[in-house]
C-alpha cells in the first residue's frame, strides 16, 4: 500500500495557473482557452503579457466546462456562454448563502 505525505495545491483566487497548466488540468486545448479569453468569458490576471495566467479558482469552472463539453458534446460556440452562466450561478449561490447564513445550503 502506497502511503505518502502530500502537499496540496490550492485552487483559489490567491494562486495562479498559467495557460499551459490550465489546458493540462482541464483537458481543453489552448486555442479553446484563447477563444474564451477573446470572448471575455475567461479573464486572465495578466492580460497584457504574452503568457497568460489565471486565478486558480478558474480551474474548477474550466474543468466543469470541459466535462460539459465532453458529456453534452457542446459546440465550440456554446463554450463562452456556458462559462458565463456557470460563473453567474456560482456568484448567485454564494450571495444566497450570504443572505441566509442559517441555511445549510
Amino acid at each position: 500500500m502506497n502511503i505518502d505525505f502530500t502537499e496540496l495545491v490550492w485552487l483559489d483566487q490567491h494562486h495562479e495557473v498559467s495557460i499551459d497548466e490550465l489546458a493540462e488540468l482541464s483537458g481543453l486545448a489552448q486555442e479553446e482557452l484563447q477563444h474564451l479569453v477573446e470572448s471575455g468569458a475567461l479573464i486572465p490576471t495578466n492580460p497584457d503579457e504574452k503568457r497568460l495566467s489565471f486565478s486558480g479558482h478558474c480551474v474548477v469552472s474550466i474543468r466543469t466546462l470541459s466535462r460539459l463539453k465532453q458529456d453534452f458534446e457542446l459546440e465550440p460556440n456554446a463554450f463562452a456562454l456556458t462559462l458565463v452562466f456557470l460563473e453567474r450561478i456560482r456568484t448567485l449561490e454564494s450571495k444566497l448563502r450570504a443572505l441566509n447564513p442559517s441555511s445549510s445550503e
Binding site: 500500500m1 502506497n2 502511503i3 505518502d4 505525505f5 502530500t6 502537499e7 496540496l8 495545491v9 490550492w10 485552487l11 483559489d12 490567491h14 488540468l25 479558482h57 480551474v59 474548477v60 474543468r63 466543469t64 466535462r67 460539459l68 458529456d71 453534452f72 448563502r97 450570504a98 447564513p101 442559517s102 445549510s104
Partner: protein, 310 residues
C-alpha cells in the same frame, strides 16, 4: 466481475440505432448530470449512464459488449477467451475488475495499437474525492487520510483495482467547499504519459454552534429579556476559547454583533470575523416569581413593539 446492463441503463432496446442511443443519453444526461442536476442521487445515476454511453456510442466497443452476451444485471460472469480481439485474456482472474475498467483498457489498448510506432503517451485518469473535516481542524490545520481505488495493471499484467492511500496535510486558511489539487496522484499514465491528478473537495462537517460563510463564522447568541433590555457582558465561545462580549442595551433579536478576527484563518490576511446573532428567549415555563415580575413589567411598561402597525 459483475455484469452491467448498459442498454437498460440508457433505457433502450439492444437493437437501438446509434442515433437512438445518443438521444436517450442526452435526455438522461440533462436530467442527472452532476453539473446540471440538483438531485443528490444524480451523480451516481449519471456515472451509470455515462459509463453505458461511453461503451455503446463506440461501434467497436458496443460489438465487444454485445459479445459478452446477456446476463441479469449484477450477475458474476467472465468474458469469453480472447474477447473483443484482445489477446491473452485467458487466465485473467477478472475478480477485482469493474466492467468499466475493462472497456477503458480496451480503448487504451486500441490507442496503443494505433500509435504503436510513435508510442503515443497516454495520460492517467483524473479522479475527484470529497473529504470532510471539522471546523476545529480547519482552524488549526490537520492531516487527512485519503483512500480510493484506481484500475492498474499488476506485475502479472492483470488489470486490477489497486488501493491508493495518501496522507495529505490540510493547511490553515481554507473555507467550506475549498478545492485542492494533488498533482500526479490520480491514475497511472501509459507509454510514458503523465500520471493523472487527484482533485480534493473539502467540506466542513456541520458544527453544533457555528455556521460558516467564507472565512466568517456565525453563532446564535441567546439572551434573556433583561440582558437584551439592559445590556450585559456575556461569554461567547470561539474556536480559540471563549471571549467576553459586551451586549449593548436595547438589542433586538436578529441584530448582529461583530467579534473581529475570531473567524477562520485566511492565507494571507487577518482571520475572518465572528458574528453573534442576538436571539431573545424567555423561559418556557416561568416560575411563580418570574410570572409575577413579568406581569408587573407589563403593567408598568408603555413600550409598544407594534406601534408601526397602526
Amino acid at each position: 466481475m459483475k455484469f452491467k446492463d448498459y442498454y437498460e441503463a440508457l433505457g433502450v432496446a439492444r437493437t437501438a440505432t446509434q442515433d437512438e442511443i445518443k438521444k436517450a443519453y442526452r435526455k438522461l444526461a440533462h436530467q442527472y448530470h452532476p453539473d446540471v442536476s440538483k438531485d443528490p442521487a444524480g451523480e451516481e445515476k449519471f456515472k451509470e449512464i455515462g459509463e453505458a454511453y461511453a461503451t455503446l456510442k463506440d461501434v467497436e466497443k458496443r460489438a465487444a459488449y454485445d459479445e459478452l452476451g446477456r446476463h441479469p444485471a449484477g450477475e458474476e460472469f467472465r468474458p469469453p477467451p480472447n474477447w473483443g480481439g484482445q489477446q491473452g485474456t485467458q487466465g485473467y482472474s477478472f475478480d477485482d475488475v469493474d466492467l468499466s475498467d475493462l472497456f477503458a483498457s480496451f480503448s487504451k489498448g486500441r490507442q496503443g495499437r494505433q500509435h504503436q510506432d510513435r508510442s503515443m503517451p497516454i495520460p492517467g485518469q483524473d479522479y475527484e474525492l470529497a473529504t470532510q473535516i471539522s471546523l476545529e481542524d480547519a482552524f488549526n490545520g490537520t492531516t487527512v487520510d485519503l483512500n480510493f481505488t484506481v484500475p492498474e495493471y499488476d506485475a502479472q499484467g492483470q488489470l486490477k483495482r489497486m488501493p491508493h492511500t495518501f496522507k495529505a496535510r490540510i493547511p490553515k486558511g481554507l473555507t467550506d467547499g475549498q478545492k485542492m489539487l494533488l498533482r500526479g496522484k490520480g491514475g497511472k499514465g501509459a507509454h510514458g504519459g503523465p500520471d493523472g491528478n487527484l482533485y480534493l473537495n473539502i467540506s466542513f462537517t456541520p458544527h453544533r454552534l457555528f455556521r460558516v460563510i467564507d472565512h466568517d463564522l456565525y453563532i446564535d447568541l441567546p439572551l434573556t429579556v433583561s440582558e437584551a433590555a439592559l445590556g450585559a457582558t456575556v461569554k461567547v465561545p470561539t474556536l480559540d476559547g471563549a471571549v467576553n462580549l459586551k451586549v449593548p442595551e436595547g438589542i433586538a433579536s436578529g441584530q448582529k454583533l461583530r467579534i473581529a478576527k475570531r473567524g477562520l484563518p485566511r492565507q494571507s490576511q487577518d482571520n475572518g470575523d465572528l458574528y453573534a446573532i442576538a436571539q431573545i428567549v424567555v423561559p418556557a415555563k416561568p416560575s411563580d416569581k418570574e410570572r409575577e415580575l413579568f406581569k408587573e413589567l407589563a403593567e408598568v411598561s408603555t413600550f409598544n413593539p407594534r406601534a408601526h402597525f397602526e
